[in-house]
C-alpha cells in the first residue's frame, strides 16, 4: 500500500501537546507585588511530620526526611526545627570535673543553663587566689614560728637522747666512739681508752664489769638510734597537721566564696567539698608553683596559676555551656564523623607515652544538640566509619558515652578515660534519599525502632488556582531573598510551564525547587544583560534553551550520527519487520530521547521468542519481561488450536549498551506482527509504549523527550507532514512538548498519535485494518490479525508435516 493510500491517522491537536499558563489569569504584574510564601507549597504531609517530630516528647520519634534532591528538604527541616528550638527553654549545662578518688572516671556535673562557664571561671579564680594565699600563709611569721618550734622540738628530742646517753656512758667511764660504720663503746681509765692488752691485764671481775656495762650501753644506744626514725615520723605527722591546718584556713575562705555562689546545687557542693579536701592534702602543689613562679618572668600578681597543668585537677571542663538568653539548641553537623558526633578524648605524648585527663574530653554534636535538635545528612553519617553505630548506640541507651575509637579498635593501648555518661534528650533528623530510607528499613532492625517518623517530600504538586498562587508567591519570596529581579507574570507563567515539564505532567507543578531556582537565577542574568529591570518570559525561555544546549552535546552527536547515516534510522518508506523504537538517555539532570531501529524476524520453530538483547546479557530484567509478554500476547490471540510454532528474534539494531525497561515492548510487538503478516510498517512513525498480554498499550516515562528525539531526527531531514510518534493514550496528560514540536503539529508537519491498543497502532503503522474475529472466530483474511494467524497456522502445519516425515521424529528441539 502506498503512502497516499494509507488513511491519515488523526493526531492530537497542538493545544493538547503543551499546557499553557495564561499570565493574564495571574493577579499581579510582577512578583514584586507578592508576599513570599512562608512554607513550601504542596508539602503538607512532610511538613506535618516535621512539626510532629519537633514537638512529640518520645525519644524514639526521630525523623528521616526523604525526597528528591532540590525539593527544599534541608531548608524546610532546618527552618521548622530551629523555629521550634527558639520556643523551648535552654537545656542544662554539662561539665566534666576530676574524680579525685578514681581519676580515670571523670564526673559529669549537671548544672542549670548558663552556670557552667561561671563555675569554670570561679574555679580558675579559686586556684589563682590560693596560688598566692597558700604560699603567703606558709611564708608568714606565724607559720614559720610554729614550724621552727616543731622542727626544733623534735630535733632536740633525738639530740637530747644522744647527749643523755653520752653523759650516762661517760659517768660509767665508757667512751662513745663514732666510726665510719657506726658507734663502738670502750672503757676509759685515767682519761685514756683501755687498750686490748691493758684490758687483758685487768682482774676478771673488772673485765666482767666493763663487759656488762658496755653490753647494756650498746643495747641502750641501739634503742636510742632506732627511736630516731620514729621521732622523725611523729615530727613529719605534726608538720603535716600544721600544714593542713594552715592550708585549711586559706582554702576554707576561698572555697566559701565559690560555695556561696554555687553551693545551693548539691552536685557542685559535693564537688567543692572534694576540691577542698584535695587542696588541703596537696597544698605543696601551690608552694612548688610559687617557687617556680618566682623564677619566671612575670610577677606573681600577674601570673595565671590556673593555666599550669599541675592545677588541671581543679579545672571544670565545660562540655555544654549556654549563654544568657539561650534557647534549646539546633545543631547541624556537616561532617558527622564518629568523634564529631559522640565526642572524643584527646591524648598528649609525654616521655614516649600517651596520657590524658578529664580536661581533654571534647564534646561532639550530640552534646551541643542535647536538649534540642540535631540535623544530619544520612549519606554522610553512613559513610563515616562507626558514626552510624555510635549515633544509634547513644539514641538507644539514652546517654552519651564517650569512648576512644582507637581504643575500641585496639589500635591504641594506653591509659584512657571512662567519663560518666551524660543523659541524652535529643531529636535527630536525618535527610536522605528514598532509596536509602528503604534500605535502612529493610536491613537495619534498629532504624525502625529509633526513627519512627518520616517526612516524605513530594516531587510535584497538583496544579490548581491555589497551587498557582502559592507557586507565584514561592517564586516571589525566593527572588526577593536572593536579591534577584522580580519576575513578570509572563515569566512566572513560563516558569510554571517549565515546572510542569519537570514534573512530566500537565496536571502538576514540579517541586524541584533547586532546578527552578537555577533557571530563575540564570534568567535574571540574561535580563541583566539586556538592561531590563524585570525578568521576562523570554529570559526564562533563554535560560531553558541555554541549559539544554550546554547539556546536549551527546544528544547532538547522536543525532549527527543518524543524520550522517552512521546509525541507520529510516524516517520514510515502509519496511517489513522493522519499526522505529524510542529510548531516553539520562545524564545527570538532563534527559533526551533518541530513536532506535527495532527489527523482528520470524520463521517456523518451537515457540521460541528470542530476545537478542537478553541472550547477550544486554537486556535488563524489565526489558526481558516486556519481551516475554509478547509471547503471551501471541499465544493468547492467534492460532489457539495449533501448537505455537514460531521462532522469532527481536533486536535493537546498532545498540551496544544495556537496554532496560519495557517501554519499547509495543514497538517490538509491532515489528513482530509486521514480520508475521509480511506487511510493511511506515518508517515515518516512531513508537513508544509498553504492552500487556491483552494488547493494551500502557503508559511509559520520558514521553516528551522521546517524541522530541524522533522529531529532531525527522526535522533534520525535512519534515514530510506524515511523520509522527505513536504514544500510549494514558501518556497524553504528561505531554509538555517544546514549542517547536507544538508549532510543527500546528502546521500539520508532524503528528503525535495516542493509541490504546495494539490493534489501533498496527492499523496506523501498516495502513491495514487490524481485524476482529467474526462470529465464527475468524479474523478477516486481509486484516493484520488474519494474516498473522494464517502465518502461524502455516508454521504449525509445516512443523507437523516436518515431524511426520520418516526419520525426523524426536529430532526437533
Amino acid at each position: 500500500m502506498t503512502e497516499q493510500e494509507r488513511p491519515a491517522a488523526a493526531g492530537l491537536p497542538h493545544d493538547r501537546l503543551r499546557r499553557r499558563y495564561d499570565p493574564g489569569a495571574l493577579s499581579f504584574r510582577t512578583t514584586a507585588e507578592l508576599d513570599g510564601l512562608a512554607e513550601l507549597v504542596g508539602q503538607d504531609r512532610a511538613l506535618d511530620a516535621i512539626r510532629l517530630a519537633a514537638s512529640i516528647p518520645h525519644s524514639d520519634f526521630n525523623l528521616f526526611v526523604l525526597g528528591p534532591q532540590g525539593s527544599g528538604r534541608h531548608s524546610a527541616v532546618r527552618r521548622l526545627l530551629s523555629q521550634r528550638a527558639e520556643e523551648r527553654a535552654a537545656p542544662d549545662d554539662w561539665a566534666y570535673v576530676n574524680n579525685f578518688d578514681t581519676p580515670h572516671k571523670p564526673v559529669a556535673l549537671r548544672l542549670p543553663a548558663g552556670q557552667a562557664h561561671p563555675l569554670r571561671r570561679a574555679m580558675q579564680g579559686l586556684v589563682d587566689d590560693l596560688a598566692s594565699d597558700i604560699p603567703a600563709l606558709f611564708e608568714s611569721d606565724e607559720y614559720q614560728t610554729q614550724r621552727r618550734a616543731i622542727d626544733e622540738s623534735y630535733a632536740e628530742r633525738h639530740e637530747s637522747a644522744m647527749q643523755a646517753f653520752a653523759e650516762k656512758a661517760r659517768a660509767q667511764n665508757i667512751a662513745l666512739l663514732r666510726t665510719p660504720m657506726g658507734f663502738m663503746l670502750s672503757a676509759v681509765k685515767d682519761g685514756e681508752l683501755v687498750k686490748p692488752d691493758d684490758y687483758q691485764k685487768l682482774p676478771e671481775d673488772e673485765r666482767e664489769e666493763i663487759d656488762r656495762k658496755i653490753a647494756a650501753l650498746q643495747e641502750e644506744l641501739s634503742e636510742v638510734l632506732r627511736e630516731a626514725p620514729r621521732i622523725e615520723k611523729r615530727h613529719r605527722e605534726e608538720v603535716e597537721a600544721l600544714n593542713a591546718s594552715m592550708a585549711e584556713r586559706a582554702v576554707d575562705a576561698r572555697v566559701a566564696e565559690v560555695t556561696a555562689e554555687f553551693g545551693h546545687l548539691e552536685a557542685i557542693r559535693r564537688f567543692l567539698d572534694a576540691v577542698r579536701a584535695d587542696i588541703v592534702e596537696n597544698a605543696e602543689l601551690f608552694l612548688k608553683a610559687a617557687a617556680q613562679a618566682n623564677e619566671g618572668p612575670f610577677p606573681g600578681a600577674v601570673r595565671r596559676a590556673h593555666r599550669e597543668s599541675v592545677f588541671d585537677r581543679y579545672a571544670v571542663n565545660v562540655m555544654v555551656g549556654q549563654e544568657a538568653d539561650a534557647t534549646a539548641p539546633f545543631v547541624e553537623e556537616a561532617l558527622p564523623t564518629y568523634d564529631r558526633l559522640v565526642g572524643r578524648i584527646e591524648h598528649v605524648s609525654q616521655m614516649g607515652s600517651l596520657v590524658t585527663n578529664f580536661t581533654m574530653i571534647r564534646p561532639g554534636a550530640l552534646h551541643r544538640a542535647n536538649g534540642g535538635y540535631l540535623l544530619l545528612d544520612a549519606r554522610r553519617v553512613l559513610s563515616e566509619p562507626y558514626a552510624w553505630d555510635g549515633l544509634k548506640r547513644c539514641l538507644k541507651s539514652g546517654e552519651i558515652t564517650i569512648t576512644s575509637l582507637a581504643e575500641r579498635l585496639s589500635l591504641m593501648s594506653t591509659t584512657s578515660l571512662e567519663p560518666d555518661p551524660i543523659p541524652l534528650d535529643i531529636r535527630v533528623a536525618l535527610v536522605g534519599e528514598r532509596l536509602m530510607h528503604a534500605l535502612l528499613v529493610a536491613f537495619d532492625p534498629d532504624f525502625s525502632q529509633l526513627f519512627k517518623l518520616q517526612a516524605d517530600f513530594e516531587d510535584a504538586v497538583d496544579t490548581g488556582d491555589e497551587a498557582v498562587d502559592a507557586f507565584a508567591r514561592l517564586v516571589a519570596g525566593h527572588v526577593r531573598e536572593a536579591g534577584l529581579r522580580p519576575l513578570t507574570a509572563e515569566a512566572v507563567a513560563r516558569l510554571m510551564e517549565e515546572a510542569a515539564r519537570l514534573a512530566g505532567d500537565t496536571e502538576k507543578l514540579s517541586l524541584r525547587l533547586e532546578a527552578l531556582s537555577d533557571l530563575v537565577r540564570e534568567a535574571d542574568h540574561y535580563a541583566g544583560d539586556r538592561g531590563a529591570e524585570e525578568t521576562g518570559a523570554e529570559d526564562i525561555a533563554r535560560a531553558v534553551d541555554e541549559a539544554e544546549r550546554r547539556a546536549g552535546r551527546l544528544r547532538d552527536r547522536m543525532q549527527e550520527a543518524i543524520r550522517r547515516g552512521t546509525v541507520l534510522i529510516d524516517t520514510e518508506g515502509g519496511e517489513v519487520g522493522q519499526v522505529n523504537g524510542l529510548s531516553v538517555i539520562s545524564l545527570g539532570g538532563f534527559a533526551f530521547g533518541r530513536p532506535s531501529r527495532i527489527t523482528a524476524r520470524a520463521r517456523m520453530g518451537t515457540g521460541k521468542l528470542v530476545d537478542i538483547e537478553r541472550e547477550v546479557e544486554l537486556g535488563g530484567p524489565l526489558h526481558s519481561k516486556g519481551v516475554m509478554i509478547l509471547s503471551g500476547y501471541l499465544t493468547s490471540n492467534y492460532a489457539l488450536d495449533a501448537p505455537f510454532s514460531l521462532h522469532a528474534s527481536l533486536v535493537f539494531e546498532q545498540s551496544y549498551g544495556g537496554v532496560e525497561g519495557d517501554s519499547a515492548s509495543s514497538a517490538e510487538l509491532y515489528a513482530l506482527l509486521s514480520a508475521l503478516s509480511d506487511l510493511p510498517i511506515d518508517q515515518g512513525f516512531a513508537v513508544t509504549g509498553s504492552v500487556n498480554q491483552r494488547g493494551e498499550v500502557q503508559a511509559i516515562g520520558g514521553v516528551n523527550e522521546k517524541i522530541e528525539g524522533f522529531f529532531e531526527t525527522c526535522r533534520a531531514r525535512g519534515l514530510t507532514g506524515t511523520q509522527g510518534v505513536l504514544i500510549p493514550e494514558s501518556n497524553v496528560p504528561h505531554l509538555m512538548l517544546r514549542d517547536e514540536v507544538v508549532e510543527a503539529v500546528r502546521a500539520e508537519r508532524f503528528r503525535v498519535i495516542p493509541v490504546r491498543t495494539i490493534d489501533e497502532g498496527i492499523e496506523i503503522l501498516t495502513g491495514v485494518p487490524a481485524g476482529a474475529r467474526d462470529a465464527d472466530g475468524h479474523y478477516p483474511e486481509d486484516s493484520v490479525n488474519g494474516r498473522v494467524e494464517a502465518r502461524l497456522r502455516a508454521f504449525a502445519e509445516a512443523r507437523r508435516a516436518y515431524a511426520a516425515r520418516p526419520g525426523t521424529q524426536g529430532a526437533e528441539r
Partner: protein, 218 residues
Amino acid sequence: MTTAFRLTVCAGSFEDARRALALLERMTDLPLAEIAGVLLEDPRHAEAAALPHQRLVTFGGGLTTAPSPAALAQRAARDAAAFRTDLERLAAARRAAWRFERRSGALAAALADAEEMILLAHAGALRPSRRVVLIAPPGGAGAGWPLAEALARAMGGHVEELPAPEDAEGREALVARVGRMSAAALVVARSPDAPWPAEALEPLVEAARCPVLLTGTG
C-alpha cells in the same frame, strides 16, 4: 666577703666529707684560695674493735660484730679515694688550690698545721634544724659572724649566737647545752682572748654532732 680563705676540711669518713664538701659547694659567696682535705683515721677505733665481746652499733640502731682491722683499713682506703676525688672536683669548680692527706689521730691531729679555717665534717642528724650556732668570744666574732651567716644562707637557716665560756665550768655547761641542741652547724670563733685548745674542743665537737667550723686562731 672578699678575702679568700685557706680552709682545711677534716673528716673521719667519706660520708662526713661528702656532706661538708656539698655545704662548701652551696657557699658560693665564700672565696677560697686553697682547700686542704684531711682524712683522719682514729687508731682508737681499731683498738676498741679488738676488745673481746665488742659489737658495733650501726647508725640505724642495729647491733653487729665489730669490724676487723682489715675491714677498717679497707674502708679508710676507699673513703680516702672518694674524698680526694670530690675535693679535686670542688677545688676545680672554685678555682682554688687543693691538697689531700691521710692522717692518723684524733682531733688534736686535725688541728695540727691546719689552715686558718677548719671544717670538722660530720654527716649530721637525720633531719637537722636550720640553725647555725655561733660561739663568739667576748670581743666579737670577727670573721666568725659573716661565716656563720654564709653557712646559714647555704643551709636555708638562721644564726643563733651563744657566748663563749670563760671557764671550765662554763665550757661544761656549754657542752651540755650544745649536746641537747639541734644545730645544722656550729661555728667556733677562736681568738687569743678566747682560745679553744684541743682538749676543750674535743667534748664540744663530740657533743655538737654536726659540722663544726673553727675560725681564727687560738
